[in-house]
């Protein structure tokens, strides 16, 4: 179930926010999309989810252009988690998670229960959304995506509102999703998280790919200096690396 884009370009208003991106993303892996503010990360993710129309090029799921899939079928196969943690009504967690079944047109109690269990929300299941912490809200929203049993999870900065402990928990959950055969694509700001946890990293600069490969290949100090304008170096062991400013002496 390959998710691929071919010379994808996306325009939002007057601006071309994604320019000529081609990539083949494999299931069973975590792909991180990174880049400076305004590089087009969220637009690329929405394009991959079929939520923004391509101005040119195409996104294909297992060879079929997303535009040829019915929106419901696309929704069954691609779960999208937006950056916004907006929940309009004070819905209980279990009802929130059950919204993930909407494309399947069932209440799917088993997948909903499984998602609640995986995200460790059992004790919060009847709690209204307004009484959840930021971390609990993020877990509930990710559980909503998991309840849809998608083949692909596309998440826009899922770690943004979380403290360190919850960031680690959430990334572990995403890794277990990938291990179970799902494809995971996440937009990240934290380059160390991308370096240590992603199987593949795509670096975006002004809507175009500046680097694409394994984390070690894509996030070199040279690339970071060119794209972010920051002079940095990596310290630590592979898999447990941290990013620090380069020493000037």
């Amino acid at each position: 179930m390959m998710l691929a884009c071919d010379n994808l370009a996306i325009r939002r208003g007057q601006a071309e926010v994604v320019r000529g991106i081609s990539a083949e993303l494999r299931p069973g892996t975590i792909t991180a999309i990174v880049g400076p503010n305004g590089a087009g990360k969220s637009s690329l993710l929405m394009g991959l989810a079929g939520l923004l129309p391509a101005e040119s090029g195409a996104v294909r799921l297992d060879g079929t252009p997303l535009t040829e899939l019915a929106s419901r079928e696309r929704a069954c196969r691609i779960g999208y988690l937006p950056q916004s943690t907006e929940i309009a009504w004070d819905v209980a967690v279990e009802n929130l998670v059950a919204l993930g079944r909407m494309p399947h047109r069932d209440r799917g109690s088993e997948p909903v229960e499984a998602a609640i269990r995986v995200m460790e929300l059992e004790e919060l299941r009847t709690r209204p959304a307004s009484q959840l912490s930021g971390g609990e809200t993020s877990r509930a929203l990710l559980a909503r995506v998991l309840a849809g049993e998608p083949q692909w999870i596309l998440a826009d900065e899922p770690l943004a509102a979380l403290d360190l402990a919850h960031q680690i928990t959430l990334i572990d959950h995403l890794k277990s999703c990938a291990r179970s055969g799902m494809g995971v694509v996440i937009v990240l700001h934290d380059l160390a998280m991308a370096m240590n946890h992603a199987d593949r990293v795509q670096v975006l600069e002004e809507g175009a790919l500046a680097a694409d490969g394994t984390a070690q290949e894509a996030l070199t100090p040279e690339t970071i200096a060119r794209v972010w304008g920051a002079d940095v170096e990596w310290i630590g062991m592979p898999g447990r690396q941290a990013i620090v400013a380069s020493s000037r002496d």
């Binding site: 208003g13 019915a70 929704a75 929940i87 009504w89 819905v91 929203l141 909503r144």
Partner: protein, 319 residues
Amino acid sequence: MNRAALIFAALLVVLVPLSLLAGRVWIDPATTPNAALILMELRLPRAVLAIVIGGGLGAAGAAMQGYLRNPLADPGLFGIAPMAALGAVASFWVGASWALPVFALAGAGLAMVLLALVAGRTPSGAGGGIALFTLAGLMIASLAGALTALAITMAPSAFAMSQIVLWLNGALTDRSWDEVWIAAPLTLAGIAVLVFAARSLDALTLGEDAARSLGIDPRVLLFLLVAGVGLTVGSGVAVAGIIGFVGLIVPHLVRPLTDRLPSSLLLPSALAGACLVLAADSAVRVLPFVTELRLGIALSLVGAPFFLWLLLRMRRGRL
């Protein structure tokens, strides 16, 4: 049918006989002369009309609040009710008040066409579509309000002016089965359309982008909403004038009794709206005023303080 729907259905069962008997003259079926005639030709059509209009306004309010994700949204926001009112006013103006419901429905239909044209041009996928569409609805409402005011100030006669003003205040006085046959099928069709759209409204709880990722087509949802609100509100205005605040208040009263998702709120809101308008119409008949208090005025008198209380409660973060 959920718990809230059962509660309001039971309340309606209690209210209907009370409403039939209540009035300036209380009816005792055993002793009142012509009781059967009064009940069948005056009280019953009026009660049915109250249920139909209240049900439509309640359902439309719940749908609008779900769509706009805002507890302060009201069916009037789309400009359908003001356009229906403008159509009705036009019928007085041209001296065809006998065809008032047709003119009002034409006004509502025109508003729906305008909204559909705007909806068709609302960009999908770029976000902000709902805000743009709501602003368009407000503009239609504003334009219809201005034209109605113009029609009042330039009324061909003092009688026409008084007729227009009186009608705009909304009432169920002297309505017959004719009005029921106009409003009931259209309102029921509107509620059915809104029920069909209800699960899509649930998805909007998570925001526009998440809803689209769940397979919801925002344009289809928008067309369903325009059709549903247009049919319910337009037919209500066509037979009873403007009756405000029902669509705003009712979903609030009902929401705590449900799981708060729009799909759970729709039918209970329709039933609660029916209860509210039926009770209010019974009350205005019983209150000892020289002339019967207009239903629209009575509901606004209760509704405006409620709206204020709601705003203050929201400021304290209890909503």
